[in-house]
């Protein structure tokens, strides 16, 4: 049986410090209120990571992140599953026992980076699962 959980403060969300300039973030509604689970902009800049000298392309990339509420009933755009619906219902009945459904990436894609290594060789790397294409409640 799930151990009862202390009720978390629902509005308090962990945010990356906006002052981190290499991660430019726009979260649309900010912490203002109940924002439905969706994709938010998160741009990762190689210049600000101190890597621009070696990178031929790209200069940075949009990584995005998922944030927002996953409250029952789910709309179609929340990409949820039968299990998520069941968990959300049980959470309504036993909020102390079963946690809320999470807003997470449901589709990810790769990025490619072209750079010089320390011996001036040119390297092309494909890194998988780096860009959020879609979010959902799971």
């Amino acid at each position: 049986a799930a151990r009862p959980l202390k009720r978390r403060q629902l509005n308090k969300t962990t945010q990356v410090q906006p002052s981190n300039k290499h991660l430019r973030i726009s979260d649309g509604h900010g912490a203002r209120g109940r924002d439905v689970c969706r994709r938010h902009e998160l741009y990762v800049s190689f210049r600000d990571l101190g890597w621009l000298d070696s990178v031929i392309a790209p200069k940075g990339y949009s990584a995005y992140y998922c944030a927002g509420e996953c409250n029952y009933p789910f709309t179609s755009c929340m990409n949820s599953t039968n299990h998520a619906t069941m968990q959300a219902l049980v959470h309504l009945m036993k909020p102390d026992v079963v946690p809320k459904v999470c807003c997470v990436p449901t589709e990810l894609s790769a990025i490619s980076v072209l750079y010089y290594d320390s011996s001036n060789n040119v390297i092309l790397r494909r890194e998988r699962n780096m860009v959020v294409q879609a979010c959902g409640c799971h």
């Binding site: 151990r3 009862p4 959980l5 202390k6 978390r8 962990t14 410090q17 002052s19 981190n20 290499h22 990762v44 990571l49 101190g50 890597w51 000298d53 070696s54 031929i56 392309a57 790209p58 946690p99 990025i111 490619s112 980076v113 072209l114 750079y115 010089y116 290594d117 320390s118 011996s119 001036n120 060789n121 040119v122 390297i123 092309l124 790397r125 494909r126 890194e127 998988r128 780096m130």
Partner: protein, 241 residues
């Protein structure tokens, strides 16, 4: 000391120090599979012209970034997670003042090859200009790996590829050297030696330079280079720093 269920761990809400942020940036680069920021590179004036390897790799980058695995540009691209071009090489020739056969040899520094990656394909790319002597004849270009050199006799060679072309042809000649990759993965601290021979239709050895094959004296945009395609092994769980 708390009793009862422990709340889920919440990342402490405080401003990170400069050192901590620097560590975070390194961690981000590591997640991206990129090494630590190498020393800022100020390319020497000569290399500021577009060089052959970066030009070729930029085309691959656009194909990979656009998920163009149609093989139009390169058949191995779709199955590759990493493509490395190697440009650091030493060239040795045995041409006119020795008896036949003539050859041109390229020694490549492969120390940057990462461990844990499987080679799916490897190519040696060399530019050929039109050759006038002999005029309009068939040339056979063969490539060998220099497995072991001996002071008192010829080197041990391992055949890699053979291409047939016309003396008047021009463009990039691509020789498949995938078969050599087994050895270099075992010991990539040792330079990879590739030896190029050219023979005419009647079997006479010919100086590769006379056949129009450009070595290191070629302009930047036509320098020979090596390209290797790797398939990442199932991604090991990356331990954070």
């Amino acid at each position: 000391v708390r009793h009862g269920p422990r709340p889920p761990y919440v990342f402490p809400q405080r401003r990170l120090g400069v050192h901590e942020r620097r560590n975070m940036q390194r961690e981000i680069l590591a997640v991206l599979g990129l090494p630590e920021p190498p020393r800022p590179r100020v390319p020497p004036a000569a290399s500021r012209q577009p060089a052959s390897a970066p030009l070729f790799m930029l085309d691959l980058y656009h194909a990979m970034a656009n998920d163009d695995d149609s093989g139009s540009l390169h058949s191995h691209l779709g199955r590759s997670d990493l493509v490395m071009s190697f440009v650091n090489m030493v060239e040795r020739d045995r041409t006119l003042d020795y008896q036949e056969p003539h050859w041109k040899e390229f020694l490549f520094d492969l120390t940057q090859i990462p461990a844990g990656e499987a080679v799916t394909a490897a190519e040696f790319r060399i530019y050929k200009e039109p050759s006038t002597h002999p005029l309009n004849t068939t040339l056979h270009v063969s490539m060998f790996e220099v497995v072991q050199e001996h002071s008192n006799r010829g080197s041990d060679l391992f055949f890699l590829d053979l291409q047939t072309l016309r003396s008047g042809d021009e463009g990039w000649l691509v020789l498949d050297i995938t078969a050599a990759s087994d050895r270099w993965l075992l010991n990539h601290n040792k330079d990879l030696g590739l030896r190029l021979y050219v023979e005419t239709e009647d079997g006479h050895s010919m100086d590769p330079g006379l056949a129009g094959l450009l070595g290191q004296q070629a302009p930047q945009s036509r320098q020979p280079f090596l390209v290797t395609f790797f398939r990442a092994s199932p991604s090991p769980v990356r331990a954070p720093r």
